[in-house]
Symmetry: D2
């Protein structure tokens, strides 16, 4: 696989953007291997993901961002992100007591399914240390007191760790604590949560029990970026499974676990592949 | 097809109920052709649907209810409903302006898919009279004023019609009016609505627009019995369809229509087959 | 809605095609309202759908095809199709005895969901004449003898009708006859069939019975373009529904009907919107 | 949780069976906690699963089977299986080189989701030894030569191991070898395979490549009991996922992995819970 650059951008929709950008790449001997764009005609916004091979590209890798900014970004009022496929993202995992999402993530990591580094697993409980040890990944525990009196202190220690380990994004793999605004600001649209309901139904605690009480015939799981409003951030992926009157709260929890881990891992995959663009409170997911 | 009796019941769970009831039927030479039961172990409630052939049954058809009541219902504190497969239910359809659910229902009716009579279609608009005429079904219009000042009067006229036509249950096929408590009391768990969202998400008006605003990745439709609380009655059936960031409110409406008609018709099918038991705010759906 | 041109094309993948074509449109004052492309990297083929508004476009409508051919098609070895959104496609429907797909199609047509004309319904049986009459569409019957001795003659009469009515494409709405190669040659990738199984499982007759015999847990329906090989043409759309051991061949037929009509109508929608490109034996479906 | 007995049976359908069997249990002071039955009216066969608490049951545990045989089995021509919930099934896992199903199984096992023992993992390759070691489960490798000349010998060694470890059933977690008739005879309907297609489509090798070549819009996975005919045994569970023309054989493999592991684990769950009855080449799956 050759080294590539990946450009994700959005800007007010105007004629000729694709034409100019693809011309820019091909004129400079970049071979485009991925191009997808989308125009939100309600909002009048243009979104694009373009990936091209760098081996014959005339502009040096460390100058590409500058050239795009100078030539196009300000002219078209673009917000751009530039990535390189040979830079592995560094991912931290936050967990509490349930292992199913963690195992699913680590099994993919170990099998080489994701091109990612996992420098640390963070928890408020000791419970899953054995899983981290099975996979030889450092496991850090900071207990949060029931009255949350040490929460600020804990989060500072966590952020210190994340900075030291150059963590790029965080996966909340059934982490049962609310993330503070400070951490969200440091990782905007870079903290991925899995909520065990079909959002916006059943926000908050014990969604399976809520679903059972309401008597729904289908349950779901939702992966989203964390924002300061609870369970209200941009949705990345959702899926559902059919249930019946025979299901109990316990069997919903069991069935839900399989949904949660698959939905979370699909979201993480899209994030690692840099196929998600966020605009206001929604995601554009490139395929 | 032989004549059958269908017994639907629920009662506090106790040992021996199935044994006694099946013995009652077989001792009296009824051939059981359907038996399904379910015990809600959380609430301690027993639910059963039993259907048996009447051609050799020793108890006369018009005495069966009495015998069951005398022998079992009071002893076991049962709530029973007894139906006969040779009595066609009579169904009224309420519509407003959209034709997709109405066409889906009438196509099934005309093709003989449902063993049901449809004596009338009721609307607050003239728009769908042509559909009723295509299928030779009387179409009644009572306009409800914007300030709802004549709503009581309209509902009284409607109920008068329903009584005159011996209507057993009502299907709201995208009828955009709220049903008053009077009518609900006259048809408890016998008014089937289709709500164009995955309830309890997006209760109330314009659910597709709400879904688009929230940025969900899946939309749904929900069929439920109407109760006095808006969109909160016992859910009969739900289904969903995957959407993407490319969908607009308009395309959600288009995709949703196919969901709505199928979900509503599945619910009506179960109701006609007497396979739904309602307990508190939930349904038990026999298969 | 403004008048637009829709260009569907495929060609060997080369750098710069999008750039050139979008430049061609924007340089000539066409406003691009839809652009999607796809590169099959295994086969090295480029596919594109582009739609642009014609109200300010400098090239006259009847010259566009010529210009594209001259400037690009031969140079890039393109196969192109050009459509205009103000030209309604004319669709013939072929049926046998089952009404569910026909009703679903006609209900959409009558509700204005599809921008299409339906000049005729063709059948080998009288059974569904009443449906055609409900919707005021001419209904033609040519009986095919059991020994097929008059099949050639019948198809010639049918093709004569289709030509006279300027039919652009044919929908086989559960038409239970095999289409001859002559008709397929006249309508290549323009005859849409619904097969009542999840192809390639259960090719041929009585697929629901085959599915029941095999004991599958999910059944499906498949819409595809008709080619000379039975049930083997390019697949446009598929969907499935879960079943259980309790289902009988009859209940599979009932559940399958809902799948069939929705899957067929989705395929017809895509065809009418000119969002399908066919390459070898596969479809590219633009969203 | 109290100790229970689980009775699975089928027999020719006759009146009174449920009545007699439930009376037998309740008369002997067993509290029925699960009862589900199903009558295949096409074949005239009655199927039942009944579970009852043993703490007050009058018949000693080791006599129950005898009593049922004497009192009912021969009279009704029943085939019965009796299990006890406090006897853990012992499960062997066979693998080749892919880890996703193995990790999924072991994560559930480790989390206590399944009440099962796993005394051994068997493979024809060394590749997954590290996974077995992560979970401290003995890993046995017998290499099968390319010409299969030592296959009989290998299977004898494997069966010797299975007997020594009192293995009750085998899970083929993407084991890429064909199981010989000898082993199948020793474990009839007790070897669970996952086939990476929606059977009966794409039997045999490289189903994802076959699916890609055919251009299907949905792919599936199928879990079934192994019989002597390849990929033709009784189906336990299937599921599907939607794909598009953009998918490559590689991306189908990736998407399929998530299906495979979930479908296989659902089947294993049902098997462990003794909720599967096999009749001819089909399964009855109790819920």
């Amino acid at each position: 696989m050759k080294p590539t650059a990946i450009l994700l951008l959005h800007c007010p929709d105007r004629e000729g953007i694709i034409s100019e950008l693809t011309k820019f790449v091909t004129d400079n001997r970049g071979n485009i291997v991925y191009l997808d764009q989308y125009v939100d005609r309600v909002e009048g916004v243009f979104f694009m993901r373009m990936e091209w091979e760098l081996d014959r590209f005339l502009i040096p890798k460390d100058k590409i961002e500058e050239y795009i900014n100078t030539l196009y970004a300000s002219r078209y009022d673009m917000e751009c992100c530039l990535y390189f496929n040979d830079v592995k993202p560094r991912m931290a995992i936050f967990v509490s007591k349930m292992s199913h999402c963690l195992y699913d993530i680590l099994a993919r990591y170990k099998a080489g399914e994701w091109d990612v580094d996992i420098p640390c697993i963070v928890s408020n409980h000791e419970d899953l240390r054995y899983v981290a040890e099975q996979f030889d990944i450092p496991y850090y525990v900071w207990s949060i007191k029931k009255d949350h009196s040490n929460k600020r202190e804990v989060e500072e220690a966590e952020m210190e760790l994340l900075r030291r380990e150059n963590v790029n994004f965080i996966v909340l793999a059934r982490y049962m604590q609310i993330i503070s605004d400070d951490m969200i600001r440091e990782y905007p649209n870079h903290i991925i949560n899995i909520h065990h309901s079909f959002l916006p139904a059943f926000i908050g605690a014990k969604p399976y029990h809520q679903a059972w009480t309401r008597g729904v015939k289908i349950i779901g799981a939702t992966s989203h970026y964390v924002t300061s409003e609870l369970d209200a951030g941009p949705i990345i992926e959702q899926d559902v499974v059919r249930i019946t009157h025979k299901d109990t709260p316990d069997s919903l929890v069991r069935k839900g676990r399989d949904l949660e881990k698959i939905v979370l891992s699909r979201a993480v995959t899209k994030h690692i592949e840099r196929k998600i663009l966020t605009y206001r409170n929604k995601t554009i997911i490139f395929s």
